[in-house]
């Protein structure tokens, strides 16, 4: 013990020495001009201010998102009553007669989000528990980089896989399914959000203090009982937060869903049918040549606003839960 603290101290001193060497180089530079020394406080202040501006940009971005979305949406709601937008059951802004009810898009989005959660939650939670509680350090070292690779695969690649690989398999099993169907979107988006669920849940599981495990083992519980009756309940709120974040990601997921689920807004819960999500609709309009300033053009801002609010609410709840989790075991 003593030896170790000695060592720590000596490394700290070494750090200090490095600082001395660096600083002597600085001060010799500064000796060159006395003017520089008198300018020093001003210079420091400038840097402080510049860094402050950098940090404030993040606030500006949020304000920018809200302003841009609201500005165009308000104009949209002059033409389309907000009640019709929120409760209408038909969405066909690009075809005559136009209908502006967002429910079909919302339903499509929730279908994909729910379906992908059904795919990802059991596998993700199981993997997180295995990696956190059972796996040897060596096994973890092999699996975790592989999950990082999975997390790094772009969403358009998953869209490709949905069309070329997943959809044909689904049509083999259910011949009534279309080329574009919600099920293939659910599966690939589920795979996409897997790494997120795993890494967040695993962090939460790891943060459960050792004393809880030790106490449970001391009472004669076996590993299964310790994991399922002690560790997971203790980490439950954090695990829920990780599910929320993952589902919010699935809601905002764009390219894979656009490619896999098709472009027919429909109020259905049948995963074998072609549907359209909010994100896919925005892509559809952006791809075409909708003239600026028309009602059709403004729909994407209104849909974007709905999307932004949905994901924002879920994220804020998840962040709140996570911040509470951190406090609990300190």
């Amino acid at each position: 013990m003593e030896d170790r603290s000695n060592q720590e101290q000596s490394t700290k001193i070494e750090g200090g020495e490095a600082a001395v060497i660096q600083l002597s180089r600085v001060s010799s530079l500064e000796k060159a001009g006395g003017l520089w020394c008198s300018l020093r406080p001003f210079y420091e202040g400038c840097i402080h201010f510049m860094l402050f501006v950098c940090a404030s940009i993040s606030i500006l971005v949020t304000v920018g998102i809200v302003v841009v979305l609201l500005y165009e949406s308000v104009q949209f709601f002059y033409d389309v009553p907000i009640l019709e937008f929120l409760t209408g059951t038909r969405w066909s802004p690009l075809l005559k007669p136009q209908h502006f009810g967002i429910l079909p898009l919302l339903c499509g989005t929730m279908l994909v989000a729910g379906g992908s959660a059904i795919v990802a939650v059991p596998i993700g939670l199981g993997t997180a528990i295995y990696l956190s509680e059972y796996a040897s350090p060596r096994f973890r070292d092999i699996v975790k980089p592989m999950l990082e690779i999975l997390a790094g695969i772009p969403s358009v690649v998953f869209g490709y896989l949905a069309i070329v690989f997943v959809s044909p398999i689904i049509r083999e099993i259910f011949p009534s399914a279309g080329v574009f169907n919600a099920a293939s979107a659910c599966i690939v988006v589920g795979i996409m959000i897997l790494p997120m669920i795993i890494s967040l849940s695993e962090d939460i599981l790891q943060s459960v203090p050792l004393s809880l495990r030790a106490a449970a083992f001391a009472l004669g519980a076996n590993k299964f009982e310790v994991t399922v009756r002690v560790i997971v309940p203790a980490a439950l709120s954090g695990i829920m937060a990780s599910f929320l974040l993952a589902i919010s990601r699935a809601i905002g997921e764009t390219m894979a869903v656009t490619l896999a689920a098709g472009a027919t807004p429909k109020l259905t819960l049948n995963p074998l049918e072609s549907i359209q999500t909010m994100t896919a609709y925005i892509v559809q309009v952006s791809q075409g040549d909708t003239p600026t300033g028309t009602l059709e053009y403004r729909t994407i801002f209104a849909v974007g606003l709905a999307l932004f609010i949905t994901t924002m609410v879920m994220n804020v709840i998840a962040q709140y839960i996570l911040s509470r989790v951190g406090e609990r075991y300190e």
């Binding site: 700290k12 750090g15 600082a19 660096q22 600083l23 600085v26 420091e44 840097i47 402080h48 860094l51 402050f52 950098c54 940090a55 940009i57 993040s58 949020t62 998102i65 979305l69 059991p122 596998i123 939670l125 199981g126 993997t127 528990i129 295995y130 509680e133 059972y134 699996v143 690779i149 999975l150 790094g152 695969i153 772009p154 969403s155 358009v156 690649v157 869209g159 490709y160 069309i163 070329v164 690989f165 795993i198 076996n222 590993k223 299964f224 994991t227 990601r249 905002g252 764009t254 994100t279 925005i282 892509v283 600026t292 994407i300 999307l307 932004f308 924002m312 994220n315 998840a318 962040q319």
Partner: protein, 292 residues
Amino acid sequence: MSSKPDIYTTKRRGRITNMLFTSACFLATMTCIFLLVLLIWNIIIQGKGWLSWEFIERLPSRFPDKAGIKTALWGSIWLISLTAMFSVPLGVGAALYLEEYAPRSRWRKLIQLNIANLAGVPSIVYGILGLGLFVRALQLERSVLSGALTLTLVVLPIIILASQEALRAVPDSIRRSAYALGATRWQTVWYQVLPASLPGIMTGVILSLSRALGEAAPLIAVGAMAYVPFVPERLTDEFTALPIQIFIWTSRPQEDFHHLAAAGILVLLVVLVSMNAIAIFVRHKYGKKIRW
């Protein structure tokens, strides 16, 4: 034959559930790995016959056997370089302010919460912001510059969060020794804290840029969709990007275009994997040199 199970049966049952649960969790882990291998294998099988040097050098075409990714690849290179130029100084600066300068006030907490939430905003929403702000309000049109600025907004929160983590890993003793020797705040940050946290920051930057490289949705929203038969030469030129080219090819019904898309994906994945490899290399090589 008692109605209550005796202690040995209970124990045995416990052992069986334990074993079943362990294997279920192991199975879940193996499923993840299996899926990853299966997906990548599938792409390699589909795309390998179409991948060639000419594929990288040719311009886009309506005929699958003549199509290439030259403009898309150059578009991506432009985008990623510009994005790096904008986002790295801004992101590292913001992280420095939050970690080294800002007093522990409500304002700092607000910025922090805001950044965490921005990181969760869907990228297509940034695309809409880019459309409203850069393309329309600032009149930058559908240019490389609008695309890069939009991507900057997408990756900025990620770079800030990663840099903050790297800065937090630098022990306070370093800062205190520097202050004790009479260094000003900026001297402490510039000569001590930044060099010490550089490997961590670099890793975060490379990973967020690789995320930007794979983004297609915000670029489509700002209008990078048009067929672009030339390589961008100025900031105001129209552009396309590799993920967008893949998207277009995948959405065609003909089988041949799907093979082209797979070949494009292979190129994209090779670039992404090498960027990740660089990040890991930086973390291992330079991360170990500095010890405290």
